[in-house]
């Protein structure tokens, strides 16, 4: 027994800093979400101001909530619990604060660039490359600080929460780097290295695992620390937590393709995603039950303690979301749910319930402890709980109804075999009342957050902040531990964080590699559709505007092989159609019709008028006006760098094309569109953004409309 007792101090300042910004960014992120929600039934709420229009603030909302609210909440919880579980102060105060200020700078960068339209369009990875580089640097600082702390710990063994933190740090790094492979075309513009099907698979491998390893594993680690602390009893089964960890980390990474069911993604990848998603139910529910059963015999505490109330609801929401997710990954269920609001309901069940409530519980737990006092008002916290729960129900239930209604209406045929609702707008008008109810639910939830902010502020005012907490522990003895008799591999592993790390990363990477490597091979094997050609210069710029405005937030470009879809939109989408799509723009949600075969459906003048005021051509439409596209000049100066970047990622533009011929082609195509617009009594100059956007929209899907499909193996 080591009697060398050391005294040291836990750093509370960094925990407080992360706690404060968690509350602030939470409010900001949810306010932006509310603004987006209101625009879905009242499009004029954007005040005809491009920077706060739905397409641009939707990614701002998702990024703010995921990376600013939950991200800071995660750092808050990890910085508090890791020190106490390791019985050591954080490895480096400098790295802690570098992590803090770096992360806040990234958030501010996102809050400025996303409304300006600087986006890669890839969901939850929208930030442009300079910010992506900054994320990588800050993440490395966090990881080094975490491993440094683990290495200098005074506790021989690593508690299961730390395993979850390690898996988070490593996997997020791998995901972020793999999905961020882009070719810069200027300071705030880049094109994905991958194209079409490949880009889609990499993106949803990332997107799915961002949910897994940013929203789930760190929070599970936090649950394994804070739930026993709040209940003042050990976790129900430590053995179950071991199984939970390894099974979850191993299985999660394989399930990404369930976001691409019935798309042009190869069938084997879809089936793999579906099977692994179903298997995920087991570890997820194991973890949920482990959390809930920890409270056996202590349910009376749950009645009084708001911290435990929030935790129980959060863990239950985790269980519900992780049952629903695998069900939605079943192909038949997915054929109904995909592209509808059901997905939004599912995501918010997880975000509002699991992440939101667990964050609130941690804040209510931490503030009194950081300020050495009691919570200012337990009653108010209880009101917050009930208001939050009510808000969640008001948010989620109407959106489920909306989602299922949309899915059923899209698929409904009449007795003569025609689509019952051939006009997409009919299906949207039907669910607008649900959008209103959802906004009420969101408002209730947000009101609860304001109450919490006030309660925490009063708690802080009433107490006295303790910047450092003094602690004592015996220094760690060197050498292998054989003290308990049988030398266990498990214990050896926990005593060796680096070896553990390697094993964890292998578990994570295996699934990724089995999935991703064949997709890299497929690049040479996707059938070339002879008539599919690269976009013209004007279309490239139009596509960039489409990306900038976030059109893919509401319009998919992927017609699934169902009769209900081919009747409505045309021939189903083929893998070979997207070989020049850097990035892919399949989308994941339909608030408007699919645009994969939009080209040639309407005259140019229709598009012009529709962009100026969607309700002039489509009464009842919830699409915002894009009148600024009619007046803003097209930035043709950017053409050389953009075409050059596209060539570097594999689009076969001839050498030197961007330095002259491209501008001529652009002018010729613009003149033709302006001429067509005149036929529709619209006067427009060639150098306006709308001309480029019309060129792009009129191109969509025409490559295989104009010529018979001929496949030629390379």
């Amino acid at each position: 027994m080591n009697t060398n007792i050391e005294t040291f101090k836990y750093d509370n300042r960094i925990v407080r800093a992360f706690a404060i910004v968690t509350v602030i960014w939470g409010i900001v992120g949810m306010l932006v979400g509310l603004l987006a929600a209101v625009q879905l039934f009242f499009p004029e709420a954007n005040l005809n101001f491009q920077f706060i229009t739905f397409g641009r603030i939707r990614p701002l909302h998702t990024n703010a909530v995921i990376f600013a609210f939950v991200g800071n909440g995660m750092f808050m919880g990890i910085y508090y619990s890791l020190q106490r579980l390791c019985k050591a102060r954080m490895y480096s105060d400098f790295l802690s604060w570098f992590n803090f200020w770096g992360w806040q700078a990234i958030i501010v960068g996102a809050a400025v660039t996303l409304p300006l339209g600087y986006t890669t369009s890839k969901e939850y990875a929208e930030l442009e490359w300079p910010i992506k580089v900054a994320i990588a640097i800050v993440w490395v600082a966090f990881t080094v600080n975490m491993f440094g702390t683990i290495l200098k710990r005074r506790e021989k063994h690593m508690y299961v929460a730390i395993w979850f933190y390690i898996a988070t740090a490593l996997t997020v790094a791998v995901l972020h780097i793999t999905n961020s492979m882009t070719m810069p075309a200027g300071w705030f513009k880049s094109y994905s290295m991958y194209a079409g099907v490949q880009d889609a698979l990499v993106q949803w491998w990332y997107g799915h695992n961002a949910v897994a390893f940013f929203l789930t594993t760190p929070y599970l680690g936090l649950m394994y620390y804070f739930l026993p602390k709040a209940a003042n009893r050990p976790i129900f089964s430590y053995r179950l937590s071991i199984i939970h960890f390894w099974a979850l980390v191993f299985l999660y990474i394989w399930a990404g393709p369930h976001h691409l069911l019935y798309t042009a993604l190869p069938d084997w990848a879809q089936s793999l995603g579906m099977v692994f998603s179903l298997m995920l139910i087991a570890p997820s529910w194991g973890g949920m039950l482990n959390g809930l059963l920890t409270l056996r015999g202590a349910w009376d505490k749950v009645r009084q303690d708001p911290v435990l109330k929030f935790m129980v609801a959060a863990v239950t929401a985790y269980g519900m979301a992780t049952l629903e997710g695998p069900l939605m990954a079943i192909k038949t269920v997915n054929s109904l749910s995909h592209y509808t609001d059901w997905t939004i309901a599912h995501a918010h069940g997880g975000a509002l319930g699991w992440n939101g409530f667990l964050t609130f519980s941690m804040l209510y737990y931490l503030f009194p402890r950081l300020y050495k006092t009691e919570l200012w008002s337990t009653k108010m916290a209880n009101y917050h709980f009930w208001l939050g729960l009510l808000g969640m129900i008001f948010y989620i239930v109407p959106i489920y109804v909306a989602g299922i209604t949309e899915g059923l209406m899209w698929k409904q045929f009449n007795k003569d075999g025609f689509l019952q609702y051939p006009n997409f707008l009919e299906t949207i008008v039907q669910v607008v009342p649900m959008f209103r109810l959802r906004a009420i639910g969101g408002t209730l939830y947000l009101t609860g957050v304001f109450m919490m902010a006030y309660n925490l502020y009063r708690t802080a005012k009433a107490g006295k902040f303790e910047p450092d907490t003094e602690a004592q522990a015996a220094a760690l003895e060197k050498g292998p531990e054989i003290a308990h008799g049988k030398y266990s591999f498990h214990r050896f592993l926990e005593g060796k964080p680096m070896f553990f790390t390697v094993l964890a990363i292998v578990a994570v990477l295996v699934g990724g590699m089995v999935e991703i490597i064949p997709m890299f091979l497929i690049r040479e094997n996707v059938p070339i559709i002879a008539s599919v050609k690269p976009y013209s210069p004007l279309e490239v710029l139009g596509r960039d505007i489409y990306i900038r405005e976030g059109c893919l937030g509401c319009h998919s470009q992927m017609i699934r092989p169902f009769r209900s879809e081919t009747e409505r939109y045309g021939d189903y989408s083929k893998a070979g159609e997207f070989v020049y799509d850097h990035p892919f723009l399949w989308g994941s949600e339909r608030k408007g019709p699919d645009l994969a075969r939009e080209g040639g459906k309407y005259p140019d003048a229709w598009h012009y008028n529709h962009m100026d005021d969607p309700r002039s051509t489509s009464p009842g439409s919830i699409m915002p006006r894009y009148s600024w596209l009619l007046t803003q000049p097209l930035e043709t100066d950017a053409l050389p760098s953009r075409l050059g970047a596209l060539r570097r990622v594999g689009v076969p533009y001839p050498a030197g094309y961007e330095n002259g011929p491209a501008q001529k082609d652009l002018q010729a195509q613009a003149l033709k569109i302006v001429g067509d617009l005149k036929l529709g009594s619209v006067n427009c100059e060639t150098n306006k953004e709308i001309v480029a956007l019309i060129a792009y929209l009129q191109r969509l899907g025409t490559d295989i409309k104009s010529a018979p499909v001929t496949t030629a193996a390379k």
Partner: protein, 64 residues
């Protein structure tokens, strides 16, 4: 179409075999490991968060 793509890839069948092998080996190993670990050790590990080493009376706010 997909079948053609997959079949044309050199040695693609190995991916299926590798997947199932890794899967079976991994889970068998993990379960053996989890169920052969001693209960005394598990209990010790489970109660680890409850002692954070704070000098100040081990968290007054949790005391009933």
């Amino acid at each position: 179409m997909e079948e053609k793509i997959i079949c044309s890839m050199n040695g693609v069948s190995i991916y299926g075999i590798i997947s199932i092998l890794i899967f079976v080996v991994f889970f068998t190993g993990m379960l053996i490991w989890a169920f052969t670990t001693k209960a005394s050790y598990l209990n010790k590990m489970g109660s680890l968060p409850l002692n954070g080493g704070e000098k100040d009376s081990n968290d007054k706010l949790n005391a009933e």
